[in-house]
Each structure stands twice: as C-alpha cells, then as structure tokens.
C-alpha cells in the first residue's frame, strides 16, 4: 500500500467515525434514568460514610453533608463572580424550626415532622446522642467540636421531646457557627444503638457502611474506591425538595479521562482537574466552569524560625522578596488563584483574612537584606513539598528554587509522599516548605489561633512564638466573644501586621475551588467545606 493510499483510507476511517453516532446502548427507560441522574466523577471516593468515624477522609464529608442534617445551616449570599456563597453570619434552621440564643445557652425546637430515612421521628434524644457522640469519639470530630468550645456531653440537655438546649462552656463567638459545620450531624440513635457493641459503643462500624440520617439523600450502594449511589429522600423536611433524584458518583483516577468524560458529555460534574485543564475548558466554552477562592485558605512558603538561618527575620524578609510571585500565578496556576502579594505600599491593613502582603519580587533588595543578615554569599537548605499535591507544588517549588538561587540560596528539593507529609510536618524539622492551610470557620482569629499562636499547634508549622502575637490573637478572641468591635478591629490589624512584619510564613495566593459542569447543570453553591451540595443542583 502506498503511503498516500494509506493516509486516504485512514482519514476515510476517521470521517466514518465522525458520522457514526456513539452506540445507543441504553433503552428508553435507561434514557429516562439518565435525565434524572447526576453523574459526578472525581479522583477519590469516601472510605467511611460517617464523619464521626475513625480516619474518615474528605470525600466522606461530602456524603455526610448530603445524607445527614444539622440543627442549623447557613443562608446563601452572592459571592465572588456571582456564585452563590454561604453567608458566614446568617443561619437558617435545618432540623430545628427555631433557634433561641440566650446569654449562656442556645435552645432549639425541632421540626415536628422530621423523620429519619427509616421513618422514625427525629427527637431531642437523637440530637443529644449525636452531639454526645461527636464530642466523645475522639479524633477529628471531637477536635472540631472543641473549636467551638463544645467539649462535654453535659452541655447538651434534652428539655422535652422536641426541644434541646446547648449550654455554653464559655462565651465563644464560634460556638453557633460550629453547630453548622459537617460534624454535628444528627444520627438515628435508636437504629445505630442496635448495632453498638461494648467495643464500639457509638456504633461506628454500622454507620461506616450505611447512612442513618434524616438528610436529603441516602446512600443506596457504595463500592469503596469505585462508586457511591445516592437516592433522594422524598420525605426530607430540611429544605425544599432537591431536583435531582439520583446521584451516581464514580471514581475516575485519571485526570485526563475525567476531562474527556466531561467534554464528551458523559459526566455531569467534576471538581478536581488540573488548573491547566480548567483554563482550557473555560476557554473552549463547552462547559460551565465555576472558580471560587477557598474561604480562609492560603498557600504559603513556610520557614522554621527555630532553625538557623531562618531564625533571623532579615533572612525571612530576603526570602519573601525573592519569591517569583507573578510567575507562580501565571505558570503554575494559570491565573486560577487570588494573589496574596503586591498590595499597594500605602494600602491600610484591613480587618480581614486572608489579605495580600506588600511583598513583590525584588532580587536586589533581597540580596541587600541577605548581606545585612550576614549571609552575603547565601546558604544551602532544603525545600520540601507534599507529593500528594505535586501538580501545583512541584512547579511552584522549581520556580522558587530558581529564584532563590539568584540571591545565593541553594536549595535541594525534597519531595515527601502524601502519607508521610503530615508526619514530617508534625516533627517541625523542615526548614523551608510550601503548604496550604484553610479553616472551615471563616474568622481571622480562627486562622491565627491555629497558624501563629504560641501554643504551637500542628499548623504552626514554623514553630513561631511571639508574646505580642499571642496578645493580639487572644485579645481579638475575647473582644469577639463580648462584641467589642473596636478592640477586635485593632487586634486583628495588629496580628496581621505583625505576621507580615515578622514573616515566618510568606502568603502566596488564595487557591480556587474549580468545578466544571455541563451547561444543563445549574445550582452550584460554594460551601466552607468546598465539597458539592447536591441538594440545590438542577439538571435540565
């Protein structure tokens, strides 16, 4: 066969392919099912359907959010780019029909017609049992409850069948918001208690495999690592009945295939694609792409202030002046992030977090600062990152490495596998690294308690300890609890300024949550947990 003939026959084949429609493998009934089903594809799936379980992963939170109810939830407001965005300060009842905040307690009246998936009514005893469970099981749920000063089972009091009172351990502005996060979900206590054993008093083994809530959806099939199938609960009273009857959530590990599935119109929604794919999808306009900045989240370069030479603030400032900020925005993130650098020199500090620093890339200044600090010829160090997020971290670190080399700092890049990352971070021995932190509760002082406070929590990865910082942070927490706005504002500005002056961690950008969906899918809402809320999604 001659080359020309070969090409001809191949192009003939391709043309034939273009006109042949995809095989119509589903019958009419299946086509109906398709229009009522939403197909979600993502990289990984849940390992536990209950957020109270041991080591439940983040995809598991999504199941909990949609299959369980909380007493209260948040209202929506219009967020960046007009995307509906949860309103931090406005609460709406979900299982409760009424919330009454007193001086040192809050009382909830439950909706009388609320029922669990098995038909049992939701009672105050279920609420108490569920909240007791959250503060007792240990691990992440207990920790999250503690963030709102909810630590003891005595705080949850059954007043009557339909009324629950929660007593405050102390005045804390985060207590009410903490009741609207994923953890304090209400579990069908009678059902779960049947499966509880002496070793497992809270029935965690049972709820790991099936949902026992009153939420808008219930899991009907779960094949770990492969798919989760959820059906709508038509008796849901927590809000308006969701439009989508059935959710099929398939795990597709290959990012390229997730994109192909979206572009071919087979999948309806995906939300973890590489930034580059999102930019390209956005440009070709076949899909709806929503990008919203993480609330209270920042990607940063951290420096361990206990390790020389980063114990010297001048060295830290020099590094902050040598970061190739704009290059990172363009080449690594393709613009899909909110810059947290380069604020105008005369811009006043705001009472907000995150907010941009005034640092820009200035190699000459960095060199001068380094010389001043006594390292005119630079030094050697390692730059570490989490391989679990290599897509962003690796190019980012290479750019930083290049840029630091210009001021004489020679860095060796240390790639740490995902499973190992947290262990290494916990040891607080990494001198220089990049990481991301974001808090569910969107309050500046919440972020700072974890990341800058002298009690040196695991997120204070820099081991930064400063008396002045602690005073500002605790001042702001106390001022918020009693509603002293003026003091609160001064203290927040105080800690932000100090964090930027001492610069133990260099903010780079606020990452975006990127969601790609078909044009006929609408109703996406941004939540603090950044996972999907199926209840408002609509498939036309």
């Amino acid at each position: 066969m001659k080359r020309r003939d070969f090409l001809k026959s191949v192009s003939g084949l391709a043309a034939a392919g273009a006109v042949t429609p995809a095989p119509a493998i589903w019958s009419a009934a299946k086509a109906d099912a398709r229009s009522e089903t939403l197909l979600i594809v993502s990289e990984s799936g849940p390992n536990n359907l209950d957020i109270h379980g041991v080591g439940t992963n983040v995809p598991g939170y999504e199941v909990s959010w949609n299959c369980y109810d909380r007493l209260i939830s948040h209202e929506m407001k219009s967020g960046p780019g007009g995307v509906p965005y949860y309103d931090r300060d406005k609460f709406k009842p979900e299982l409760a029909e009424d919330m009454n905040v007193g001086e040192m307690s809050v009382t909830f009246k439950l909706k009388k017609n609320a029922k669990f998936h098995d038909g049992a009514p939701v009672t105050a005893r279920d609420v108490k049992w569920s909240l007791d469970r959250a503060v007792s099981v240990g691990g992440f749920p207990t920790f999250q409850m503690g963030a709102g000063s909810l630590t003891k089972t005595e705080q949850f009091v059954v007043v009557d069948d339909n009324t629950v009172r929660i007593d405050f351990a102390k005045k804390d502005r985060l207590t009410i918001p903490d009741l609207a996060v994923i953890v304090p979900c209400i579990v069908n206590s009678e059902l779960v208690k049947k499966s509880a054993t002496e070793k497992d008093p809270w029935g965690l083994e049972y709820t790991k495999q099936q949902t026992a809530g009153s939420g808008a959806y219930k899991v009907t099939k779960w094949t770990a690592g492969t798919e989760v199938v959820m059906e709508r609960n038509d008796a849901w009273v927590g809000g308006p009945l969701p439009k989508v009857k059935r959710i099929v959530w398939r795990m597709v590990p290959q990012a390229g295939n997730r994109r192909a599935l979206l572009e071919r119109g087979d999948a309806d929604i995906s939300y973890d694609l590489p930034n580059k794919d999102f930019v390209e999808l956005k440009d070709n306009g076949k899909l709806n792409i929503v990008s919203v900045p993480y609330s209270n989240g920042v990607q940063y370069i951290g420096m361990n202030v206990k390790i020389a030479p980063f114990d010297n603030p001048k060295v830290r400032e020099a590094v902050a002046c040598a970061i190739p900020y704009q290059k990172i925005m363009d080449a690594v993130l393709f613009g899909l992030a909110k810059p947290m650098f380069g604020a105008a020199a005369d811009k006043a500090t705001e009472v907000a977090w995150p907010q941009p620093t005034k640092y820009v890339t200035d190699i000459a200044k960095a060199k001068a600062l380094l010389a001043e600090a006594g390292h005119p010829n630079g030094f050697e160090t390692t730059l570490s990152f989490d391989l679990g997020f290599a897509g962003v971290n690796e190019p980012l670190c290479v750019l930083v490495q290049e840029s630091l080399a210009q001021i004489g700092i020679k860095t060796t890049i240390d790639k740490i596998p995902g499973a190992n990352w947290r262990t290494e971070l916990n040891k607080k021995v990494l001198p220089l690294y990049t990481n991301v932190f974001s808090g569910w509760l969107d309050y500046p002082e919440y972020f700072f308690i974890w990341c800058y406070d002298g009690k040196n929590s695991i997120f204070n990865t820099m081991s930064y300890q400063s008396k002045a910082m602690d005073e500002f942070i605790h001042g702001a927490v106390d001022a918020a609890a009693v509603g002293n706005a003026a003091k609160y504002d001064t203290d927040v500005k105080g800690f932000v300024d100090l964090a930027f002056k001492d610069i133990p961690r260099i903010p780079l950008y606020q990452p975006y949550v990127n969601v790609a969906m078909q044009k006929n899918v609408s109703g996406y809402q941004y939540w603090f947990h950044r996972r999907l809320d199926y209840r408002t999604l609509v498939k036309a």
Partner: protein, 337 residues
C-alpha cells in the same frame, strides 16, 4: 498426579510463610505514619495517639506480628483504612475484575501472537516476519499507560466508538447476579445479553492495551522455538517422508515448540497482573492492582499485605498448573510423583 500436587503444595508452605514475614516487615518499614495520616488534617498529637491505639500500632512489633498471623489463620486479612472495608472481602470482589481483564487480554494476545510467531518462523525474512518484529517491538516499547490513554483518546474521545472509560459497566447497568465474579460469564448465565454487551464493550480497550503490551514475549518466543524445532532432524524426516506442510508444522513442530511458549505464557500472565495496575488506573477498573497502589500511597498496611499474599498464592498455583500442563503436552517431562 495427586501425590505430586500435594507434594508441590507442601513445598509452597515455607515460601508462603516467608512471604508473610517479609511483607509484614516491609510494610512496617514503609515511611509514613498511618496514624497521622488517618487522624485527618486537623489532628492534635493526642488525637494521633488515640488513633494509633485504636489501630493497635502502639503495641510492640512482635505482638503486632502474632496478632496478624493469628488473624490470618482465621481468614481475617484485617481492615483497609483507605476504603474502610475488610481486605478479604475487597480482594474477593476485586480479584475477578483483574482476572477477567488479564485473561481476556492474554487470550487476545495469544490469538494474535501465536499465529504471527508461527508464520514468522515458517517464512523467516519475509514481510510477515518483519511485521511480527515491528509490531512486537512497538508494542513492548510503548508503556501500557500510554497505550491506554491513546486508545481512550482515539476510540472514546475522538471517534466515540468505545463507551466511557468508567470501569466494568456503564453507569446505568447493574452487575449481573454474582456467580463467578466474571461479568461476561455471569451475564451469560443470567441470559442478560444487554449487560453482556455492555461489559464486553467496556473490556475491549483495556484488554487490547494489555494485549499490545504482551504480544512481544509470546510472539518472539513462538518464533524462536518454532525456528529451532523446524531445523531439527525429526522435522526434516517428516518432510522427507512426504507429509503435508500443515501436518509437519501443526502436528510435529508446533506441539514440540509449545513448552517454552507455555512457560512464557505463565510468566506473561503474572507479569500482566502487575502491569494491570496502570491499566486499571487509566480505565478506572476496580481491580486489585489499583487497590494495592492506593493502599501503598496511604501506607495502609493490611491491603498491601493481603495483596502480596494473594499474589504469592496465585503464583504458586499458576506454577503448579503450568507444571501439570507440561506433562500433558510432553510426556517426557512428566514430573516424578
């Protein structure tokens, strides 16, 4: 025959014990702390310790080992932390998926490679010999991962002939009633031809990917051993006696050339089970390869141990079957009982 099988199985016991010990130690030597990993992003030191206690990882290594072996003896492989399910159930559910894919890949490969090898050997230097050389070289030099992606790109994304690479079945089909765990066979047993078609169409691309990859060793080995046999005295005698070329090639030469091919096949099969890992990733195939890799990434001990142990058992069984096959094909190598 039976004594031989039982003897062989006896010999396998020490190696299995070795595998148990080595996998236990190796998984413990993995970097990373499962307790820290599973305590979640916001865990305090105390929370991590609580998790460690729950997982029994605070006990001395020797105690952990004895607990592990006694669980094994009861058929309990432990629990996977990443998927939250018992490892034994997971492997039982996932093994058929991998096996179905691998076997089909192997069958496709054998159907192409053996005729190709035989033809190449009977006509050395001809165009078919060159074709054989080019295809096998190309097949083996393309990483499975890449072949898989190209096939998806061309046949799913561009042409739309193939269904979405979403695992064993289309989203809107449910699995046939479980008999063997092989969807093709189960669908036929249930006389559900629509499901059969769906399962088959999902299998074609991944199986072809594996086939392309495994063509080389089988075709090359067939060609080489056929060449050797065709040059031997008894073939010359057969030809001289005026037997038809097809009788000479099929009955005399091919049967004698089979032994090394069978050995290669067994190697290729175990090898394919490994190569599966990548193919499973590309096609979102719920097999044991992707399961083990996921577990490894999150330093989840139990599935890794379960996986290695299952593979070891499979190798032992496979080798046994191959040895028995030898005896069937060539009575001269019948093993001593």
């Amino acid at each position: 025959m039976l004594t031989m099988i039982s003897k062989r199985l006896m010999f396998a016991i020490p190696s299995l014990i070795g595998v148990v010990i080595v996998t236990f130690l190796l998984t413990r030597a993995l970097p990373g702390d499962p307790a820290a990993y599973f305590a979640g992003p916001a865990a305090s030191k105390e929370a991590i310790e609580q998790i460690r206690k729950k997982l029994g990882l605070d006990k001395p290594l020797i105690e952990q080992f004895f607990r592990y072996t006694s669980d094994l003896a009861h058929g309990d492989f432990g629990n996977s932390l990443t998927t939250g399910q018992p490892v034994a159930t997971e492997i039982r559910n996932r093994l058929p998926a991998s096996a179905e894919l691998t076997l089909l890949g192997l069958v496709v490969s054998v159907m192409i490679a053996i005729p190709l090898g035989v033809l190449a050997a009977t006509r050395p230097g001809s165009w078919i010999d060159h074709l054989c050389r080019v295809t096998t070289t190309a097949g083996v030099s393309l990483p499975v991962f890449f072949t898989g992606l190209v096939l998806v790109y061309v046949f799913y994304f561009r042409l739309g002939w193939s269904p979405a690479p979403l695992g064993r079945l289309d989203v809107f089909y449910s699995a046939p009633p479980h008999v063997t765990g092989f969807y093709l066979i189960d669908a036929l047993i249930a006389r559900d031809f629509e499901t059969f078609r769906s399962a088959l169409s999902q299998l074609i691309l991944p199986a072809s990917t594996l086939a392309v990859f495994s063509l080389a060793p089988i075709a090359r080995m067939t060609r080489a051993s056929m060449l050797a046999v065709l040059a031997s005295d008894f073939v010359r005698t057969a030809r001289a006696s005026g037997l038809s070329p097809s009788t000479v090639i099929v009955t005399y030469a091919f049967r004698n050339a089979m032994l090394p091919v069978i050995t290669t096949l067994s190697m290729v099969f175990s090898f394919l089970l490994g190569a599966n890992v990548l193919v499973e990733k590309v096609f979102a195939w719920p097999g044991i390869g992707s399961y083990a890799v996921e577990a490894l990434i999150s330093s989840d001990f139990a599935p890794v141990q379960g996986f290695v142990l299952t593979m070891a058992v499979m190798y032992v069984l496979l080798n046994l079957i191959i040895d028995i096959l030898y005896g069937v094909i060539d009575p001269r190598v019948r093993l001593e009982g």
